[in-house]
Symmetry: C2
Subunit: 344 residues, 2 copies
Amino acid sequence: MTPYESKTGATTVIALDAMGGDYAPDEIVLGAAAVASPSLKVTLTGRRAEIERCLAEAGSSSAKYLDIVEAPEVISFNEDAVKAVRAKTNSSMVIACREVAEGRADGVVSAGNTGAMLAAAMFNLKRIKGLKRPGLCAVLPTPGKPTLFIDVGANSEVRPIHLLEFAHMASIFAQDVLEVTNPSVGLVSIGEESIKGNDLVLETHGLMADSPHLNFYGNVEGRDILRNVVDVVVTDGFTGNVCLKLMESTSSLIVEEVKKAANSSLKARIGGLLVKKELMEFKKSIDTEEFGGAYLLGVRGLAVVCHGNSSRKAIASALKYAARAAEQKLIGKLEERIKELQPV
Amino acid sequence: MTPYESKTGATTVIALDAMGGDYAPDEIVLGAAAVASPSLKVTLTGRRAEIERCLAEAGSSSAKYLDIVEAPEVISFNEDAVKAVRAKTNSSMVIACREVAEGRADGVVSAGNTGAMLAAAMFNLKRIKGLKRPGLCAVLPTPGKPTLFIDVGANSEVRPIHLLEFAHMASIFAQDVLEVTNPSVGLVSIGEESIKGNDLVLETHGLMADSPHLNFYGNVEGRDILRNVVDVVVTDGFTGNVCLKLMESTSSLIVEEVKKAANSSLKARIGGLLVKKELMEFKKSIDTEEFGGAYLLGVRGLAVVCHGNSSRKAIASALKYAARAAEQKLIGKLEERIKELQPV
């Protein structure tokens, strides 16, 4: 983790919910301290005394690029998302979103209650003009290059036009923020042929195939999502959410079982030790913290929703990608594309 | 693989598509030869000469429990499912289904084109009286005990009543065929609370909660599917199909990468060898061939749809479970339950 360096000389400000996450505020503040720089200023929202204690303990040299905005309340993981956001207007999460809404920050990052962060961003940040639905885009650490997966839970009921909007927004994000050239887009279905799928997919397939500026590959199946068949995988927020949680649990279950196997006898333990370095490298290559979290695309100001168990590394990644997006004027590009999608 | 033994003294006949599958007819015929017995007779459908050659090569002692019905045509993997089933009425697959439809067999097994086998079973076997939709039920080899997952692709558009039917049918299958006591049922959603989900799930949740004879647990999330949270996981055929293919590819991808890691240096290779036995045992414990294939519940006569790459072991398992189902009078029990679900 190195301090952020701007490619354009611009200075970006990202608001960070310092109190959200299993390891808040320590890991959150340390993530910010690791990447803050003359070109990336971070506004930490939360209880000033606690944040200052973390900074003092870290003895970070980047403190001058960190700003604190007092927020007395905290939204916890077991609160009802919508109610909490409405009631706790002085929470670190809501205040972080307000920093963006009122123009003092370009993006916002939180590892707090996912549902609450989605609600806080939706309520506080304006939607891009003409856009019907923002979508939550996860970045999957697939071998070689990342795969974008949208929507992973912002919308449990969608229409074809929403999926088309997701495809365009995630393509622009892939190209401009993750530097994927001419990203290809796949539509999740139950067969590769264009005639396979439910009514939603069948209609969306036609829309995507006819849409300019979209490098549409066609349908992809469940087995293709992690296999780098396409760069951007599009589905509704119900299917996407179920799939995201399923793949996280499948891989952690298998890693657990492999560990158990390598601990089941003395011989196996020795074998496990000999192969440990390589296994750790593999584990690192599928590290979800590499890309920080999921990106809510379609609101004015990028909102990054991090895993509750985010370490400083995930927070640092999220801040860097949020800064990159601001520097690349992502929101302006999304606005332009959404405008082109409007019926004339 | 041992010859099938009846628990009740009954004799069961299962029709087997000898020509369907990547390793047909050899592996298919050998699977049948392994389990055929005085209480499980297998009717092999396909090209008699090829089947006889396989049997002669195997020199099986169970040949007297195997019967051959000539079928000159074969449906291949790249054919359009519905068209192929309509056109090739003398294919090994269609003829195997007809053995059940015309009362000469109690169930049917095929490792051929999945879509075609679904279509062949739906067209040829009658639906259980009063049932709205048959569902395709996969058996996931989760640690400790299997998890049933329905629907994995028979219905891409469903209504709440269809999901309720799936839940009841899979519960009876779990209890009577897989010997799971009082199986619990979970409904796939994007949050555990009953108010979370799309419109389909919200309405289904209420139906399931109120349904007698159903051990309804509530909603489960993607991360719960493989974690033995419930015995029966219910979802629509779109989500189920995407999830099934996703989990298969996730686990094979990780196993590939672990293998690669254990081959990347001499030290790692030695380590890999030392831990190999334990890893193979783990791999065996998640062996999808253990349960043969996916079971189409709701037609009169159980239809088992096996993976294209099925070995003799998968075929043998499928035949055994199909025989067990027939012995347990599964279809009669499903009919009774579906009758109880009818509005009075």
